[in-house]
């Protein structure tokens, strides 16, 4: 835990220091765009292929000056959406195999504003290059869990909400292609500040992440986003 706080502190301090040193080094250019709207390519692939997760990931980035920007990242959809069957007694002579059926949906959203600093710009083009940033993530999940056992003919239904605030650091790389199209690759590490779960439900750990620590206090996200730049 302390290590993570230390890393975040280092990132933030280096961000602020670098900004003070380099804020005037990049000149305005005709190619600059003030805004970028992006969607997450990875979540889009999941939307098509993954029966479990159906998320739309959108992001809006607004340039503050040549090397800094404000970003609002938003994921919404079904973070779990599946039906699971487990069959029993395959070789028994019965009309229908006994089974259990779980129907699980976890819908909700993540909203993650972050402040981004470009410490290296490609060809002096703003919003293009390597960046670091700090972010806050708030997520809200609503989970519905239905469990049916055909052997007892009993259905158990469970519903609850889970929310969490986290603080994180972001490392990113963004390319601008032909003035308008951007590709943004980023990775973030978040640390849970606090969480809340209703109806005595189990806390739901972050579900838009590629890694979550065993206790759910730390989680990491990678994003590949395709963007459209606009505005002068």
């Amino acid at each position: 835990m302390h290590k993570v706080l230390f890393i975040i502190a280092i990132l933030l301090s280096s961000l602020l220091y670098s900004q003070s040193q380099q804020v005037d080094t990049i000149q305005n250019s005709d190619t600059l765009r003030k805004n970028i709207i992006k969607f997450r390519i990875i979540s889009t692939i999941e939307l098509i292929n993954n029966v479990n997760r159906q998320i739309i990931g959108l992001e809006y980035e607004h340039k503050l000056n040549n090397i800094t920007s404000l970003v609002l990242d938003f994921d919404i959809g079904y973070f779990d959406k599946y039906v699971y069957y487990k069959y029993y007694n395959f070789f028994t002579l019965v009309d229908e195999l006994p089974y259990i059926k779980k129907t699980v949906t976890t819908k909700g959203f993540h909203i993650a504003p972050n402040y981004k600093y470009y410490f290296y710009n490609f060809n002096h083009i703003s919003l293009s290059g390597f960046s670091i940033g700090s972010a806050i993530d708030y997520y809200f999940y609503k989970k519905n869990y239905d469990y049916f056992d055909s052997r007892t003919n009993i259905t158990t239904k469970t519903n609850y909400n889970s929310q969490q605030f986290s603080l994180g650091a972001v490392l990113g790389l963004q390319f601008l292609i032909k003035n308008r199209i951007t590709i943004d690759v980023s990775s973030s590490l978040f640390l849970k500040l606090f969480s809340f779960t209703s109806n005595n439900g189990d806390e739901i750990y972050s579900k838009n992440s590629f890694w979550v620590s065993d206790n759910g206090n730390l989680w990491a996200v990678y994003r590949v986003k395709l963007g459209y730049a606009f505005g002068k």
Binding site: D80, Y82, Y85, F91, L97, K102, F230
Partner: protein, 285 residues
């Protein structure tokens, strides 16, 4: 104006992607109440990070929702059933020689040759001890007889008695499928084994079906490349069909299309997801 059109096209594109969400539906027509029994191949399959035939590879496949797994079985000199595929221990472990020439105490500390983990050999007994509700799962025993003793009747009887002992200890005769040649299966039957018998290696698959009909075997086994018409023929004769060598998603879909009854797959995650039988709650270690 041009910018607005761009923006509108972008939003339409997003909605088109959303509407592309697909659901997979398969109409299965087989002798298992139209449900395919999904078995992992030696656990999670050949591409899994841990070697097959180990608890490290088998527990996850059960956790994600498979009905069980195929395992390769060899026997030590003191009749302990050990999960191992190759003829020699040298091939994959820190030990040497054949399992059939060793006592269990001599090889129980053998580890697979991995630089990043210590994965021990596993016995059927120790595996079954580890699995909760063992009677909810199915195991297909691919019997690996020692080639030099394969003609030794007493050796085969000892092997079969060891299986019988496991059957009795865990009440698993309904849940263990024994894969073997006709004569081996018949020998087991004569010793009182009541396991599901699956005849394999009989030459052409038609010959296996012929034996299955003649001797009332439960199923026949073949690779996923078997023609669909052969599977249908077996079903028409009341014989279940087990396939192996489903090494990837394509192999899985091929097996589903052929309406097999039991599949041994190296890509269990894919087929379980396809058939709404993947338990997303389980975290693969």
């Amino acid at each position: 104006m041009k910018n607005k059109i761009h923006n509108i096209l972008f939003i339409i594109f997003l909605f088109v992607l959303i509407s592309c969400n697909k659901e997979n539906k398969y109409e299965i027509d087989n002798l298992n109440h139209n449900t395919i029994m999904i078995l992992g191949h030696r656990g999670m399959g050949e591409l899994y990070k841990y070697p097959g035939n180990t608890a490290e590879a088998i527990l996850p496949v059960i956790g994600i929702g498979a009905d069980g797994t195929e395992i390769d079985i060899q026997m030590t000199k003191d009749s302990v059933l050990v999960l191992y595929h190759s003829d020699l221990l040298d091939t994959r472990t820190t030990c040497t020689g054949k399992i059939s020439e060793k006592y269990w105490y001599e090889i129980k500390d053998c580890k697979y040759n991995l630089t990043w983990a210590l994965v021990p050999l596993c016995t059927v007994d120790s595996l079954f001890e580890l699995i909760d509700n063992i009677n909810d799962y199915y195991f297909s025993f691919d019997i690996k007889l020692d080639g030099e003793m394969a003609d030794n009747e007493e050796y085969k009887k000892t092997f079969l008695r060891a299986i019988l002992a496991i059957d009795d200890k865990y009440n698993m005769s309904e849940n263990i499928i024994i894969e073997g040649e006709k004569d081996f299966l018949l020998l087991g039957r004569s010793l009182g084994l009541t396991n599901k018998e699956c005849v394999v290696r009989a030459g052409p698959i038609e010959k296996s079906i012929e034996y299955a009909v003649e001797y009332n075997f439960f199923c026949v086994g073949a690779e996923t490349s078997v023609p669909k018409s052969v599977v249908k023929d077996a079903h028409n004769k009341g014989i279940r069909f087990m396939v192996w060598n489903a090494k990837n998603n394509i192999g899985n879909l091929e097996a589903i299309d052929k309406n097999v009854d039991i599949i041994q797959t190296d890509a269990p995650i894919h087929i379980l997801q396809q058939l709404n039988r993947y338990d997303y709650e389980y975290q693969i270690p």
